[in-house]
């Protein structure tokens, strides 16, 4: 299992737990207990029940006929946008809330970028009757207003973060500071495959339900469990981790990770970590991150709040280094074109994050016999304001 985490918490050269002493007891407790708790039969029974009856799993694997005709390949969409709360994020939060309860925690904190993880966390906190505080960059609270309102409606406190670039990186810093200050009663539900070990592995295991279902669904539809390609967008990389998980050791399945190029990889306004990043430490994990020569973390840019992160999870850094996954970067403009494309071809409005994955279809050399599974990680309702502004700008007579 060369792509799984090792017993020290590393994927090859990436991973580990680089955390101040204040976080050590909590992270160590998690490390010692997470596997035992997750695979305990009672836990699994409760989790599977919630995934089925509350989240609405399995999510469909949809054969997108008109999209397939356009790209001249057989394209299936894994409809995570149809999961409760509108994205894959809930797979992880349902798991972690059950874990938090077994750890005896009474207060939950989370960071959020696009707000999907914040909403998914606020949702399970309401379900479990636990206090919920969500840290969100101030800029993101403005570009993802509907999700702020949803979290508040669900009873969560949303704290706008004004430090640094006021986006996902800074929201994560602030959540970590909260955990430092509240180590005894609080569990931190990290939303992506980032952070100190065991978070990347734990979140990947909760998201692995995506590829577990795909295998079965594809077997029914195509007579084979393995597609030629699995395509997913990567910010921190949780939906990609889930979509790749059960295919990691199946070399006939090509894995495609799609990053946000922002205005363009070389413009200085980008979030394409695999191109622009170097080895370093971010949020407790050794991984690829965008930084200056002096090791200061660089502020990323993407039109999509969920991909606006200067690092990638250590598992993805390892997939990149070993060549197991092929990485593409997609600009803001390309992603927005795919938002429109999928809306008009299939009647599905994708999240801007997921639209990045769609745009990669343009860059892949597909054969008509290729079976492609694209993880449609979320729905685009939360992005309507951004989408409307974008379309108004390009539809102006001389506008770009």
């Amino acid at each position: 299992m060369k792509y799984s985490v090792d017993e020290r918490g590393y994927y090859g050269n990436y991973g580990g737990a680089y955390i101040p002493e204040m976080l050590y007891p909590n992270v160590e407790e998690l490390r010692q207990k997470y596997l035992e708790i997750i695979y305990e039969p009672g836990f699994q029974e409760e989790l599977q029940g919630l995934l089925r009856d509350y989240v609405g799993r399995p999510t469909p694997l949809y054969y997108a006929q008109r999209l397939s005709e356009k790209f001249k390949a057989k394209i299936y969409l894994k409809r995570e946008d149809l999961a409760h709360t509108g994205a894959h994020k809930i797979n992880n939060t349902v798991g972690q809330i059950l874990l938090a309860k077994r750890l005896g925690k009474t207060r939950i904190i989370a960071e959020t970028g696009a707000g999907q993880h914040g909403v998914a966390t606020a949702t399970v906190c309401a379900l479990a009757g636990l206090e919920c505080v969500v840290y969100m960059g101030k800029i993101d609270t403005e570009r993802q207003k509907p999700n702020v309102a949803r979290m508040q409606l669900l009873g969560a406190t949303v704290v706008p973060v004004t430090s640094g670039s006021q986006t996902l990186k800074d929201a994560t810093n602030e959540a970590i500071r909260d955990w430092i200050s509240n180590p005894e009663d609080t569990h931190y539900i990290i939303g992506s495959v980032v952070g100190p070990h065991p978070y990347p592995d734990m979140v990947a295991r909760f998201q692995a339900v995506i590829s577990e279902e795909v295998k079965q669904q594809l077997q029914e539809k195509e007579g084979r469990a393995n597609p030629d390609y699995v395509v997913a967008c990567v910010g921190g990389g949780s939906n990609a981790a889930g979509a790749f998980y059960h295919y990691l050791n199946e070399p006939d399945v090509k894995l495609v990770a799609v990053e946000a190029a922002g205005h363009g990889v070389e413009t200085g306004f980008s979030a394409a970590t695999s191109v622009l990043g170097t080895l370093g430490i971010i949020h407790g994990s050794k991984t690829l991150l965008m930084q200056t020569e002096d090791g200061q973390i660089v502020e990323p840019h993407s039109i999509s709040a969920g991909l606006d992160y200067p690092g990638i999870g250590p598992m993805h850094a390892h997939l990149w280094e070993t060549g197991r996954a092929k990485f593409f970067s997609i600009t803001d403009d390309e992603a927005m074109q795919s938002v429109v494309l999928l809306s008009r071809l299939e009647g599905i409005i994708p999240a801007i994050e997921s639209a990045h994955a769609l745009s990669a279809l343009n860059k892949m050399e597909l054969k008509p016999t290729d079976v492609v599974v694209l993880n449609l990680s979320g729905r685009g309702d939360k992005d309507l304001a951004t989408i409307i502004n974008y379309l108004e700008d390009i539809e102006k007579p001389n506008g770009e």
Binding site: G16, Y24, R177
Partner: protein, 264 residues
């Protein structure tokens, strides 16, 4: 030459005052002035922060000083050149505090070599894993005669505290409560029990209490339970004012160190 921290703790084991400030704050060239003034005013140790874009364990005051110092153009390289210039004029032990990533990018061996060259005695790298230090870096730090200082918090298990004590040859940084920097020490009973519990462990290394030490009364309280204390955020607030920098520093240190009989 013997590590200055080792020398200091052999000679003095009470009421030790360690003061933190961020390099390149409030102005790029403030580092040397602040350092010299602190020594003249009676600080026993200084801890110089290497500014970082994402200081996870720090509260708003030190975060803001980090941001400002980076804006001023501060870097590890620049700090080493400032220290090379000023080191002959000060004799107190110097500790560098910073997050691991900038040190990794500098190169750990190169960093240790340069630190030793400019007269640094100790390092605080809060996100350096204990086992990684033990397995990979210990010989390197020993080679350059640098003492790595570990944090202990109210949640740190005794077994781990013993291990930290074994791996330490200067002092243990006792974090006063579960918080980032800049939250005031109240001296509630839970906190005093924690200080007492640590005192009862009879560790071989002295302890300095940090996080929330801001004035004479919190300094004196800390000194009842430990060999000394560390002041950070409160001092950053003092040097935020660029005017009368030296005078303000002298006055603040005098107040903190004022004997018990003087009422606050």
């Amino acid at each position: 030459m013997e590590n200055r921290l080792v020398t200091l703790f052999r000679e003095k084991r009470e009421n030790l005052l360690n003061v933190y400030f961020t390099a390149g704050f409030p102005e790029l060239e403030s580092t040397g002035v602040v350092l010299k003034t602190l020594e003249a005013a009676g600080a026993d140790i200084v801890e110089i922060g290497m500014p970082y874009s994402d200081p996870l364990a720090d509260g708003p005051t030190i975060q803001a000083s980090n941001t400002e110092a980076l804006r001023n153009g501060m870097s590890i390289r620049k700090l080493f050149s400032q220290l090379a210039e000023v080191r002959a004029q000060v004799s107190l032990p110097i500790i560098l505090m910073g997050y691991l990533n900038p040190v990794l990018q500098f190169g750990i061996e190169q960093f240790c070599q340069e630190a030793a060259r400019v007269g640094v005695d100790g390092l605080i790298l809060p996100d350096m894993p204990l086992h990684e230090y033990e397995e990979e870096y210990l010989p390197l730090f020993q080679k350059y005669n640098l003492s790595l200082i570990f944090l202990v918090t109210p949640q740190t298990a005794e077994e781990r505290i013993r291990k930290i004590d074994d791996l330490t040859n200067s002092f243990i940084y006792l974090v006063s409560s579960a918080s980032t920097t800049g939250i005031k020490v109240g001296g509630d009973s839970k906190q005093l029990q924690y200080f007492q519990r640590i005192q009862n462990l009879n560790l071989k290394n002295p302890k300095l209490i940090g996080f929330g030490i801001s004035d004479r009364s919190s300094f004196q309280l800390a000194c009842k339970y430990a060999e000394g204390a560390i002041i950070g955020s409160a001092f950053i607030k003092v040097i935020q004012e660029k005017e009368n920098l030296e005078q303000n520093i002298r006055q603040f240190i005098q107040e903190v160190k004022a004997p018990e009989s003087v009422s606050a």
